[in-house]
Amino acid sequence: MKPSAFAYHRPGTVDEAVATLAGVGDDGKVLAGGQSLVPMLNMRLAAPAHLVDVNRVDGLDEVRVVDDGAGASVRVGAAARHTDVEHDAEVAAVLPLLRQALEHVAHPTIRNRGTTVGSLVHADPAAELNAVLALLGGSVTLRSTTGSRVVNASELVTGPMQTCLRPDELATEAAFPVPQGHTGTAWTEVSRRAGDYAVCGVGVLVTVDDELRVRSARAAYVSMGPVPEVLDLTEPVAGIAAGGARPDEWAAAGRLATARLEPDDDIHATAAYRGHLAGVLTARAARAAAERAVARAGDTTGAST
């Protein structure tokens, strides 16, 4: 099917973009990569009267690593593509989780157009990046003609495909904080076909101490609830040897995940199957993250001697 008629706007600056959004009111939508919005328009699930194309807004396509005293973070502008973030060498060095997760977002062809910020504000419960933002305690900057505000991951997403954005607000940038200490991360998921939305997906962040024992472990999940679920897995794995732990030691983290999460049935999988997947994938991701934490701790000690 084809989209309904609309008026197209292509602002060149952020000021112009927010003025246009304020002018068109409830009847307008931001058009970024179009990878979620255009299917909805084609199927006429949405029919906004105005589209505000932000792809050529000045300065929005940047991907930067910023250290502003409060700690380093990766800043992704609203017109930056998933591909740009995935292939940024500096980002991969300081925050490998972004690339680990992005490799599971659709296919390269979709990532060439889809934006990271667009994915965050679209807030699909299966979207990897919302889980990554939640796991790292990141935030998104929102601009309107009346000012700007920074909302953190848990405030941003209020339900499945629902956010705290007002219709006149433009998300300009996402900030993914770089975790402190000796850390390692991993993303694993199961989907029906390569590149599909996950039936269950999990990202894990493990921190180890100087003796390379697990200090903390956290996980974030997609497709396991209406919004990204974040769990603290530290209790069952605290103090275990991060590099050489037995699989059953990690399985304890998986059991905790299965017990805590409350997924729903849908046409793709039953709740019980999802709970089972969460257990297996959590153990697998936690182990991989811990091994990477050990390797990175080795790298930093090696570098300082």
Partner: protein, 178 residues
Amino acid sequence: MSIEEHPGRTETRHDVRVTVNGVPRTATVPARRLLSDFLRHDLALTGTHVGCEHGVCGACTVLVDGRPIRSCLQFAVMHDGAEITTVEGCTRPDGELGPVQRAFRDCHGLQCGFCTPGFVTTITAYLDEHPRPSATEAREAISGNLCRCTGYQSIVDSVLRAAEIRSDQGDGRGETPQ
């Protein structure tokens, strides 16, 4: 830009200038014209196929500034000024079949051919960045495109064969269109 009134709606119309397969083209279209329909209906380049119109099948894949994208998920007006390569442009400069197209012929990479334009453009861009893929990488490279006929095996073979043809031609980039 001009404006057209529909019952209860205002639609804008735009002059869209693009370079397709090296040739500058212009058409005036409503904002809602999909890039896929712009190529097929307004520019009469019917090589680009339209299957699902929601980004899943990959038949409509074209290269914009060298990168593969789904043309069914873009409005033509968004790409004013862009360089576009369609399957018609994946030929040699003399009009003979390009390396990916030749590989598809050699390996029976197509049956009905509906999906083929999307595979040819996707693989052309992939081989620019990964000139020597393994069989596993070749399979991964085409995992975003659907084919209802071949069972994919012969398409994987075509990717590997295309890589060979390109490397036989010396510089690895072979006859890739500009």
